[in-house]
């Protein structure tokens, strides 16, 4: 299994190196779909230049990266391209190992449920075999490394790649079962971009499942483990934030990074929904809608936790997707992260209803983004509504993709327990509806 992975990695590195050396690198680096005010490389360089001038990078409104990035790139600024390529490779390797482990877990669980006769008799074609699952980790690594979104993010040197890498390591640590490492990486991911806070729930559910602790609210062991994990997480977060304080001897980074993420003052266009909404918002309601949109990212966690408590990894996938769609400054790098997981659910393909239309929508929108941007900003023959329309379409495409996968997942679970060939009471073929 290692050799094909190495080949994929080599191909990915070659593509990235070729693009770094070409003239496309400068063009990609200023595309608003690929970089956002939170992750642009130009702003990292600006922050470091401000530090050289003796001015705190957080005294202005340009630099919104965490002090960890300052620390990292203070030493590695010469090798930035190498750093980003290595980050991508590390993410892919982490996802590869995580999915490999996850497949083993899935297979074991499946075997257990078959032996316990929890499955209906005629669902043989729905059971995943090791042969099917053999190539999934490689496909995941391939999907991540050769996804055009990832390649563009890497060539643009967007720090989103670093965030993705931290989340990938968090997933690897969680699936391997190490609560400590999982808490540390989750704290790091939250510190970097705040929204991975919601991944606490799926990680906790997975670890509880792995420890065979039943998820009952009255159970003492459940609360004990939850407290342990939560305290590990909070302590790591506090340690990381205090270390950041000591880097520049001020708390300025908190309003500059987290205040910026939450209050969305910068309305630079991106692929998300926030910018135009707040550009056209009546001033009176601005605070209200900022709160509504931010709550929207966090509030799917509890219902999803209740519904998907038996399937925490799918929960994690849906949660990552929701973060990528509804975060305040999304970029295509965030989209690439959850798309890397799609091969893991390839067995759901037969239950997906709209996959063709949705993939067409996503591909067409990706091509139309730069076209309509050019028409608005450079040619002057379109206005902001055109770009906004593509934003809406792209986001609807993503939302329907995720809900399609969710539907397919739930449907397969129903068939597994109730049988594939359903009959009605009078013996005729039955339809399945959601009621």
């Amino acid at each position: 299994m290692a050799a094909p992975l190495v080949l994929v990695v080599l191909a990915a590195v070659t593509v990235r190196a070729a693009l770094f050396r070409s003239s496309l690198a400068a063009f990609i680096a200023e595309r608003v779909e690929v970089v956002s005010p939170l992750s642009a490389w130009k702003r990292v360089v600006e922050g470091l230049a401000l530090l050289d001038l003796g001015v705190s990078p957080y005294s202005g409104a340009i630099f919104h990266e965490t002090p960890l990035i300052i620390y990292l790139f203070h030493f590695l600024i010469e090798y930035a391209e190498l750093v980003f390529m290595i980050t991508d490779v590390l993410t892919a390797v982490a996802l590869y190992l995580a999915v490999q482990d996850f497949n083993k877990v899935v297979f074991k669980k499946q075997k257990l449920l078959i032996e316990l006769d929890k499955y209906a008799p005629d669902v043989a074609e729905l059971i995943q075999t090791p042969m099917d699952m053999h190539y999934i980790p490689l496909k995941v690594a391939l999907f991540y490394l050769l996804n055009p979104y990832t390649v563009m993010s890497c060539v643009a040197k967007s720090t989103c790649a670093i965030n993705n890498s931290v989340i990938a390591f968090f997933i690897l640590a969680t699936i391997k079962g190490s609560a400590f490492l999982s808490a540390v990486f989750l704290a790091l991911a939250t510190y970097q971009s705040l929204y991975p806070l919601t991944l606490f729930a799926p990680a906790l559910l997975y670890l509880l499942q792995r420890q065979f602790i039943p998820i009952k609210l009255k159970s003492k062991s459940f609360w004990l483990y939850t407290m342990q994990y939560a305290s590990l997480y909070l302590c790591s977060l506090v340690v990381i934030i205090c270390l950041s304080f000591f880097l520049l001897n001020s708390w300025d980074f908190i309003p500059s990074v987290y205040g910026f993420i939450l209050s969305v003052p910068d309305l630079t266009p991106n692929i998300g929904l926030f910018w135009y909404f707040f550009a056209e918002m009546f001033e009176h309601f601005s605070l209200f809608f900022v709160c509504v949109f931010q709550i929207n990212v966090f509030f799917y966690t509890i219902p999803l936790a209740i519904k998907l408590k038996e399937h925490p990894v799918f929960f994690m996938f849906v949660q990552i997707a929701i973060i990528s769609i509804f975060k305040s400054y999304p970029t295509v790098g965030d989209v690439a992260l959850y798309m890397a997981f799609l091969p893991v659910w390839s067995h759901l393909y037969r239950f997906l209803r709209n996959i063709f239309i949705l993939s067409c929508v996503l591909i067409f929108c990706s091509f139309l983004f730069p076209v309509l941007w050019h028409l608005w900003i450079y040619a002057g023959s379109a206005n902001s509504n055109f770009y906004y329309a593509i934003t809406l379409t792209f986001n609807i495409g993503q939302i329907l993709l995720i809900s399609d996968y969710f539907y397919a997942f739930l449907r397969r679970e129903y068939y597994l327990t109730h049988g594939l060939h359903l009959t009605r009471q009078d013996g005729t073929e039955a339809m399945l509806v959601l009621k």
Partner: protein, 580 residues
């Protein structure tokens, strides 16, 4: 009894004017000097600079001063109440073309510019600044109330005090420029009202709005500063200078002919001096250009000829003293006329030692570049210049893209002070000390990104663009001829505004062009539509997830019949087709 009354009257008459000359008694001495400088410019235009200087030997800071004579009460009360040490306000329309017109005696940027030094006793400088700009807005009928934290900066090196100063803590300095401000008659009228004689006598009778605003450049300014009362500098006097510079264009005002006269410029002539003025003079610059004999002839013959070294050059002025009795002997009015003896070669235009220009580079509405070109045309002397740029927050400057290139090589500034902007709170401030080598062009470029603003933050005409205020260049330019120390009381007013530190260089403050930059605009007709559409997308997600989370799969029960199905079955029975 008549004799006693006459003696009493005589006593009163003699004693009457006494207290006014007493000086250190209850009333303070104040003096007005007025002056007009006419300088023909190399391109055929003519520049007229009026200066009205009121000096008052009183200390406005301590002691309640209640009797105002020449010094306007509005400004005196302002200085006393808000703890102002120096105030400089300029309202300008047009742009002084340094390259073609030469070094300006006193330049101001287009729009409104206000810079103030506060006394160290002022505790809340920002509050005092806000109050000051509002009060000045009322006095001068200008929209100075738009001055707020988004266009105010605190320069550290550029605007040193021009009057007496004990120490210079730059936290007491505030500078703001409103490039969009328009100057018109309603700003001129309150400015004229501050003059002791108003516009009724003296040089101010020439200030008629219909001619003054039909010009290439019109700048009116008010400068208040403390000065030494005498050579020992033991006491402080307050000086108010009101200056007005106007440049008349040879084609629009001069009908294409280069011969100028007071009547042609102002449609008025001078009839007398202001009775309250202690000095009232008209200076005409008759310096020979290119070391030739005088080409310029002035009529009537001047009272005297004055020679001075001004801005590093030896200059000759024809002086008309309006207070000398011989001036109005032959005619009741004075109409100074400038005639050229023979056509001047326009090929030999002298180039000023320091001039600059600024423009925006780049295309599209995403990024851009501010380029400033500074020219040092001195053949062998290099000198440093301080450049101050104030850029609004919505043009996000990237200081790592700042490049300064002189003669093809990089030129590192010896001092940089950069204060980045905060969104909607303060602008960018960039101050640099750059060494200009002799006979060189220095190009300074910095890239910026254009922000998308909220729809309510755009002005009524958003596609007109946003103005970026002029950048300020302050330099001590080496002079060709050594200059003597200037005695404030004896020399003409136009030589004594800027303090000179030594005779080998003179202080010059130049302003570059203001910039007009377009920003990307949202569609202003769409707020409700955008809110609805975006909330629809969020609702699609919410709806799909709600369905999937709260509903479960069921085998579909055959529905006994909806209304449509029953109706369809009825129709089928009629047709004879089997029912659904």
């Amino acid at each position: 009894r008549g004799m006693a009354a006459a003696a009493l009257l005589l006593l009163l008459l003699v004693a009457g004017p006494g207290p006014r000359r007493a000086g250190a008694g209850r009333e303070r001495r104040d003096a007005l000097r007025e002056e007009l400088l006419l300088s023909p410019l190399p391109t055929g235009d003519v520049a007229a600079t009026f200066q009205f200087r009121t000096r008052w030997d009183a200390d406005l800071q301590q002691g309640a001063v209640s009797h105002y004579r020449l010094f306007p009460k509005a400004l005196g009360r302002l200085v006393a109440a808000l703890g102002v040490r120096e105030l400089h306000l300029a309202l300008t329309q047009g742009f002084w073309r340094t390259r073609f017109w030469g070094q300006p005696p006193l330049q101001a940027p287009a729009g409104a510019e206000l810079w103030v030094w506060f006394q160290p006793t002022v505790t809340d400088v920002d509050k005092a600044w806000k109050e000051l700009s509002n009060i000045l807005s009322g006095i001068f009928c200008a929209s100075l109330n738009f001055i707020d934290s988004t266009n105010t900066v605190t320069p550290t090196a550029s605007f040193k005090p021009l009057g007496l100063a004990n120490g210079t803590d730059h936290h007491l300095l505030r500078y703001a420029v409103l490039p969009r401000e328009v100057v018109c008659t309603e700003n001129l009228t309150p400015w004229k009202k501050l003059l002791p004689c108003g516009s009724k006598a003296g040089l101010a009778v020439l200030l008629k709005a219909e001619r003054l605003f039909h010009s290439s450049y019109h700048s009116q300014a008010v400068h208040i500063r403390p000065v030494c009362r005498d050579a020992s500098c033991l006491a402080v006097s307050w000086e108010l200078r009101q200056t007005l510079t106007v440049v008349f264009d040879v084609f629009s005002s001069g009908q294409g002919k280069k011969d100028w006269s007071l009547f042609k410029m102002f449609s008025r002539t001078l009839t007398d001096a202001c009775p309250l003025a202690s000095q009232s003079k008209v200076y005409v610059d008759i310096s020979p250009k290119n070391k030739e004999k005088e080409l310029l002839e002035v009529t009537p013959p001047p009272t005297s000829v004055h020679e001075a070294v001004v801005q590093g050059d030896k200059k000759t002025y024809a002086v008309y003293d309006l207070l000398s009795p011989s001036l109005f002997n032959t005619s009741r009015s004075l109409n100074v006329q400038l005639k050229w003896k023979r056509p001047q070669d326009s090929s030999e235009m002298p180039i000023p030692v320091l001039h600059a220009q600024r423009y925006v580079g780049g295309y599209g509405l995403q990024t851009g570049e501010i380029c400033t070109l500074i020219y040092n045309t001195h053949p062998y002397r290099a000198f440093p210049v301080i450049l101050l740029e104030t850029v609004p927050w919505y043009l996000r400057l990237y200081v790592h893209t700042l490049t300064i290139i002189t003669k093809g090589k990089e030129n590192k500034p010896s001092y940089i002070h950069y204060q980045p902007a905060q969104d909607r709170r303060r602008p960018h401030l960039l101050e640099m000390l750059i060494q200009l080598p002799a006979n060189s062009v220095t190009k300074i470029t910095i890239q910026f990104e254009r922000a998308l603003l909220k729809w309510t933050e755009y002005p009524p005409d958003p596609n007109h663009g946003f103005y970026v205020g002029s950048s300020v260049l302050s330099a001590l330019v080496p002079s060709v001829i050594a200059m003597k120390d200037v005695d404030m009381e004896q020399s003409p007013l136009f030589t004594s505004l800027f303090p000179s530190s030594d005779g080998s260089s003179y202080f010059v403050r130049l302003y570059t062009e203001p910039l007009l930059v377009n920003l990307p605009t949202p569609d202003f007709s769409m707020p409700y539509n955008v809110i609805c559409l975006t909330c629809t997308v969020v609702a699609v997600c919410y709806g799909s997830f709600y369905n999937l989370l709260t509903r479960t799969f069921h085998v579909e029960e055959p529905s006994r019949g909806g209304l449509a199905k029953r109706l369809a079955n009825v129709i089928r029975k009629f047709r004879g087709v089997p029912p659904l």
